[in-house]
Subunit: 423 residues, 2 copies
């Protein structure tokens, strides 16, 4: 390629990885195309708040075009991607082939059902705004139906909420549903006592938050129990249907089962015919490029990367951001003919999870925090992350509004055609 010509860079996915790669290229002499299936960038760490009616979708999602309107070297394309042709160096969408000189795949991950994909309809996962609003509808409709039924057994089933998987998402969902039932909705119904709802957190492994140190795990489990969540460890789900879940021989009747277990990467590895790990993540080189394809990069949740200790880099937002920034720096150096950058080095900034509205556990490189103070650190850290993308005033207002309206503002059941058999 002539170094004077403008290279074509295609970035697929506008999550943290793709967006930070794009923003990192703001001063690059290049034609960048950013492709996403949605027209918004999603702040996924707070998605559980939309699913539990604490925040509105537009509090945590922003139009990609708006974020990038001033970055004139980027064209945003609302489109899906079907594959990549490495011979012709093209990205294939349903209606066109787009040529690239450099390609960055940041296509993320979804939940894994470990070969039981049919369970998804009974136990939806939480990855998109539409997932979140549909889970919100399920949770709120369960209370509505419980208020209306005259069948005591059915009422108990409707008031039993099962969360499968005790990673951060599962812990945050379970804690927030418990608070919704015991606090937010406590005065709303006349025939049921929402506080009698059961929230059960199932975990196949021996402890909650397995990525965290044991000390924080123990604290998180105690906090969940204090909120009224029944934590059941060593409990793998063996079957799922509309009546509830099976754990071995035990049937747990529940109208609302939410899936927060396992991660399956996007089909990027298939598109590239590249080697993948068990979760389907592309095994990339130390510069995040695909073996034998130095101009194709895979970043974020769909890449298998190792840190300097040989441990896998976790599938969390800060990791994706760092990888996006790294690849944008590497491409800028390449385009400008500067010496090639060194290897990608992951800097672990910590793990965190909230448990309800008053507690959190945080693991930072030099300190571990728990309790109400940790919750505030968590809040401030999130404001800080958000300000990376948005103006401080907007973020401050959104948060002030969230704090004031918490559990009141977004309890809308939308997108539902009224159905005779519904209630």
């Amino acid at each position: 390629m002539n170094p004077k010509s403008k290279p074509k860079i295609i970035i697929v996915g506008a999550g943290f990885g793709g967006l930070f790669a794009t923003k990192g290229l703001i001063r690059a002499h290049a034609d960048i195309t950013l492709i996403d299936q949605q027209n918004y960038h999603l702040f996924q760490p707070l998605l559980y708040q939309v699913a539990t009616a604490g925040l509105a979708p537009s509090d945590i999602a922003w139009p990609i075009r708006g974020i990038l309107s001033k970055q004139k070297n980027v064209t945003v394309l609302l489109d899906s991607v079907n594959g990549v042709d490495l011979n012709t160096q093209e990205v294939i969408t349903p209606q066109r082939h787009l040529a690239f000189d450099y390609l960055i795949l940041a296509t993320g991950a979804r939940h894994a059902y470990f070969g039981h994909e049919s369970w998804e309809q009974y136990a939806p996962g939480l990855k998109s705004i539409d997932d979140a609003t549909s889970i919100r509808q399920r949770i709120l409709m369960a209370f509505e139906k419980a208020e209306m039924t005259h069948d005591e057994i059915e009422r108990q089933r409707l008031l039993t909420f099962v969360v499968v998987g005790a990673g951060p998402t599962g812990v945050e969902l379970a804690g927030t549903i418990a608070e919704l039932a015991s606090r937010t909705l406590a005065a709303d119904f006349r025939n049921i006592d929402s506080r009698s709802a059961r929230v059960i957190l199932l975990e196949a492994g021996p402890r909650v938050l397995p990525a965290m140190p044991t000390e924080l795990t123990v604290y998180a489990e105690k906090s969940l129990t204090n909120l009224g969540v029944e934590v059941r460890l060593g409990s793998a789900v063996t079957h799922c249907d509309e009546s509830g879940v099976m754990i071995g021989d035990e049937h747990l009747p529940s109208a609302t089962v939410l899936w927060a277990a396992g991660v399956a990467a996007s089909p990027a590895a298939q598109w590239l015919e590249a080697n993948a790990d068990r979760a389907g993540r592309v095994i990339v080189k130390a510069d995040l490029s695909v073996p034998d394809h130095p101009n194709v990069f895979v970043i974020g949740d769909t890449a298998a990367v190792k840190d300097s200790n040989g441990k896998p880099v976790p599938g969390i937002a800060p990791a994706a951001k760092q990888q996006g920034r790294y690849v944008s720096d590497l491409l800028k150096a390449l385009i400008e003919g500067r010496p090639k950058l060194g290897e990608f080095k992951y800097k672990h900034s910590g793990n965190l999870a909230t448990i309800g509205r008053k507690s959190a556990v945080i693991e930072l490189p030099f300190i571990r925090l728990t309790g109400f103070f940790a919750w505030w650190v968590w809040g401030i850290a999130h404001v800080y992350f958000l300000i990376g993308v948005h103006s401080p005033l907007l973020v401050g207002l959104s948060w002030l509004r969230q704090y004031v309206t918490y559990g009141r503002g977004s309890r809308l059941i939308t997108g539902r055609r009224f159905n005779k058999d519904d209630v």
Copy 2:
């Protein structure tokens, strides 16, 4: 009925009429059941803002249970109503019969297609949150598709927005879409210039805002034209399909046609087998009761009521609120054995419409306002109305946030499964 026993009051519909009737009965010695198909009360005057991506659904809709959680004499039922049995004095829902001593029907209105109900799929109206989010999706997707197409004629069709009907909703929709295209989206696209979009407001009658004095009509028309809206008077739509609309022999190609013409009342008149006017509104007595049924009341957009000059009371929020309050006072007097209240007297507080973000026309009993000052009066009036339902702090925050995020916050395309033939 024994005056000591607790009468059963059923209120159908939690719009302005139904909600204010319910709140007016807060101290009534009665068992009140409020039935609505949705779990939220909707501030309909701002619905056009959701449809045009200025506000989020939860900015203008609030859970009914939350509003009434402290009013212990009310049970809220999320259910649809199929009819009323006046012989047994029961309200019929899909799964149950509910007995009443007093009944208030506040079931509202939808848009009328004047016998062309099949047009609704091509030219949706705006009455619910789901209408608004689906119109928002249509408008935003039209720009997205225009950005992607290589067909110049199709691009023009995609960038032509037609609003049918120049009442307040039509005027507000057209003005806001014009601003969206000329301001909010102006920097977002690379292949199209969103400012080249055409917004056409069609009105069958001789002027816009026909309920307003001519002077305000003229001003509104000029303001619309200044925003770039093409106002076409005396233009009745004779056909609607996916290609656009017909006005007599003229075909107007458009991918986004919105319907803001005509009003059809709910089926309350059929349920009651009562006399109705041409729009289907129940013709009620001076105390808003149904002839021969002194314990059954119809209020709001589904009632035909005359003011003291013999003119029909308009189908606007303040009228519905006044009727809701009146019926609650009347019922309280009845229940407490006090003398019967006088007739309902409508107090006209004014008509208003905004044109974009900087102009409005307002007709008050003693004064007419136009321009930017009117826009602020409109804003303050709406904050005042909202405070009737919500805490001032919440309303203030919502509005501050709206003013800061205007045209940025809510441009989300949600509820859309990605479709191969889509773009």
